[in-house]
Symmetry: C2
Subunit: 493 residues, 2 copies
Amino acid sequence: MSNYDQLTAHYQTINHFNHAQSMLGWDAAANMPSGGSDARSQAMAELSVHIHRLSTQPQVEEWFGEAEQESLNSEQQSSLREMKRQWQQATIVPEDLVQAQSIAGSKCEHAWRSQRQENDWTGFEKNWKDVVKLSREEAEIRSEGLGLSPYDAMLDKYEPGTTTASLDSLFSDVKSWLPDLIEKVLQKQQSQSVIMPTGNFSVANQKALGLETMKLLKFDFDHGRLDQSVHPFCGGVPTDVRITTRYDEKDFVQALMGIVHETGHARYEQGLPKALAGLPVGEARSMGVHESQSLFFEMQIGRSKPFISHLSRLSANAFNVQKDPVFAEENLYKIYTQVEKGFIRVDADEITYPAHVIMRYEIERDLINGVIEHTDVPELWDQKMKASLGLSTKGNYKNGCMQDIHWTDGAFVYFPSYTLGAMYAAQYKATMQNTVDIDGAIKSGDLSPIFQWLSDNIWSQASLHTTDELIKRATGETLNADYFRKHLEARYL
Amino acid sequence: MSNYDQLTAHYQTINHFNHAQSMLGWDAAANMPSGGSDARSQAMAELSVHIHRLSTQPQVEEWFGEAEQESLNSEQQSSLREMKRQWQQATIVPEDLVQAQSIAGSKCEHAWRSQRQENDWTGFEKNWKDVVKLSREEAEIRSEGLGLSPYDAMLDKYEPGTTTASLDSLFSDVKSWLPDLIEKVLQKQQSQSVIMPTGNFSVANQKALGLETMKLLKFDFDHGRLDQSVHPFCGGVPTDVRITTRYDEKDFVQALMGIVHETGHARYEQGLPKALAGLPVGEARSMGVHESQSLFFEMQIGRSKPFISHLSRLSANAFNVQKDPVFAEENLYKIYTQVEKGFIRVDADEITYPAHVIMRYEIERDLINGVIEHTDVPELWDQKMKASLGLSTKGNYKNGCMQDIHWTDGAFVYFPSYTLGAMYAAQYKATMQNTVDIDGAIKSGDLSPIFQWLSDNIWSQASLHTTDELIKRATGETLNADYFRKHLEARYL
């Protein structure tokens, strides 16, 4: 067996344990009764240890050294590059730091659940201090290993190839037009009247509606399913993708669009190439590209007029309320495109969302690079919130810098992926329009031409190319925020 | 760390992987869409290989050697004995034989699914030949390793300590009175009129009824749940027991009693001692003892008059049919105690069931010991069926020796456990009656005193004692078929 084949077999083995880990995680969120938690945590920790051991075993380094001398075709070269990337990710941070981070993160997050409600920055800060300190240590180690700045080295985890320089440039572009755009849209929507849904929307009916919507989006039910969990997510494995949602019996709107969003993640996973299954090169390209699929489904398809026409019909059927004005096409469209300045990122609309992301990016970049201290965050948050959305968070920590779980348990550097995804999605659409009658396809109820484009250009490409190459092959150029701007202007102005 | 502690830590590790394996198996049966099957099989096979590797790693043998010299209390001695038993089970059969058996069993079972429907003994025999041959090889190897006869050595897998001699003696006792009892009961029930349920019993209502019944049986929903699968089973782990059932919308009777049965298995698992969790000594004693719990719940509690009174009330409520005579106490009792001679074991009633088991035992015992050949089985089946139930299966393979999945994939030696379980259950009841007002407790709707007895005497004892010791401590004597006879006579004559 060649060294390359040894590596391939080894990563297939790791993949089997990842399969188990992924399913146990999904089950813990979707099925497990609370009393099962301790034993489950232990089993999952054991799997993590085992996966880490496999991922870092010394032989692997030898195989890489030898495999690089072997004659490989371009697909194999990509495969080798991606295996090596995963190996570097696994070996670069010492195990005791990973463990210390896990403990500090859990402690901080656990306390945060009540501290947030109590607006207790002082209490939070005591735990968070360690989380920040350890993340900076991690960034320092990655920085030395990769020869990048600390924040860029951290970016490599979720967005290989993306740099502070590129983000600064993209985001400063967005910042140059976003505040003005928000004002104009608010002005335009000021006199708009919207009827909000009220009343009882049973979980059974909402689920039936969700499943109908997933069918329209050609979710492959032979390779996945829809369930419920407190925090909606897309989990499982490519051959069996498990998406979840959370139902509110007073309002079906959010859960429904949440399902559209997760279906986008799911179809990416379901559409990854079978021939590369189980190998790093066969996995999704990056978090940003993953978000580009969920956001293509949610923003480019889901909130488009022709799609909302389907949702209007399907939801009126599901709740058996054919003449209720709530479900009228125009009203649903207004609901799904309503813009409002708010404190909370997860409640934000399509236009104000990037403002939330960009300020988080700016703060975490400076925090990880050691330019500011963690105690500077509340003040900076207040300043940036005032500058971008005109809202003060002075003393309002719970709706300010304490609102998200991400930083709480040390998941820095993830926020940019959301807005990168939204921008990629707008750029795909601009290109797709040249060859696909998008609105026509949506209207007809057969969205296959849209999915074929996504499959050809994104899903089937997995991690064969770098992100920049992937986007360039799909759209003719690397990421360009102009498409995002044009999309927002076209929809909202 | 002492060698004993090393072993303990090692078996805890194995337990974590078993946790993953068990949950993946449950998920495959209860949730997984068909397209997920290949990747799941690969992941589960990888876990099996890993568990096998851990279970047989050479260090373990050294630890056993050293641990036996260490000073251990009696619980630790039991723990050591059970770890060693699992280790012997894992190491005694060479890996290539296990693999050959797995392949031959899968092949035979796969073809059997259609061959059975087509009554195709000739086709079946061609595959089954290898399954039998490999099982005999396994028995031979175990026989040499354990110094027991081939069948006794195989019995050790599911029923440690049980021997052909003891089974022969128990079953010949049963055979001496069973045919006569069956005739008498049939005579008695001849003029009995029973109204069978018909019509639509929705899955949702049946599930609600099942959950109500599980509450009455004090299933711990904080440590388990009820789902659906094609073949009902009890899976999961002791802290999170997953039971399943299969609903027939035309008839709720079987699914309901199936839930009672699985709840018995579940409460045994839920009641295993927390202090021994994750260790072999903390596991259920044997398959026969496991069946004794499901059958105690089904036969001793479930089909008793006072419990059927609860089922009458709960089912009439669940289906909202308060005045339907189907749901009347007396009618339900007749349904649940109706006796009929039939070809199919899984459809058999409480009295004819042992006849099905005993003939299978006699055939597989002689087959494994090399006294008969696999081609002799149809003829023997016909003879024994005629002798015990007066039914001929000549040429009727699909309702004869091809009816069960067990032998098809090589699961010999399991059948006796069903009837051992029924006999243990009757013996527990006879003893329990001395200190617990069983009928009174059931009538009152608070069955705690019954469960307390089972917990004290069986659940909390896990595998601390041999099966004989366990039964003797619980009931004052080893297994005695008299209690089973008396139970059947009291209920049916």
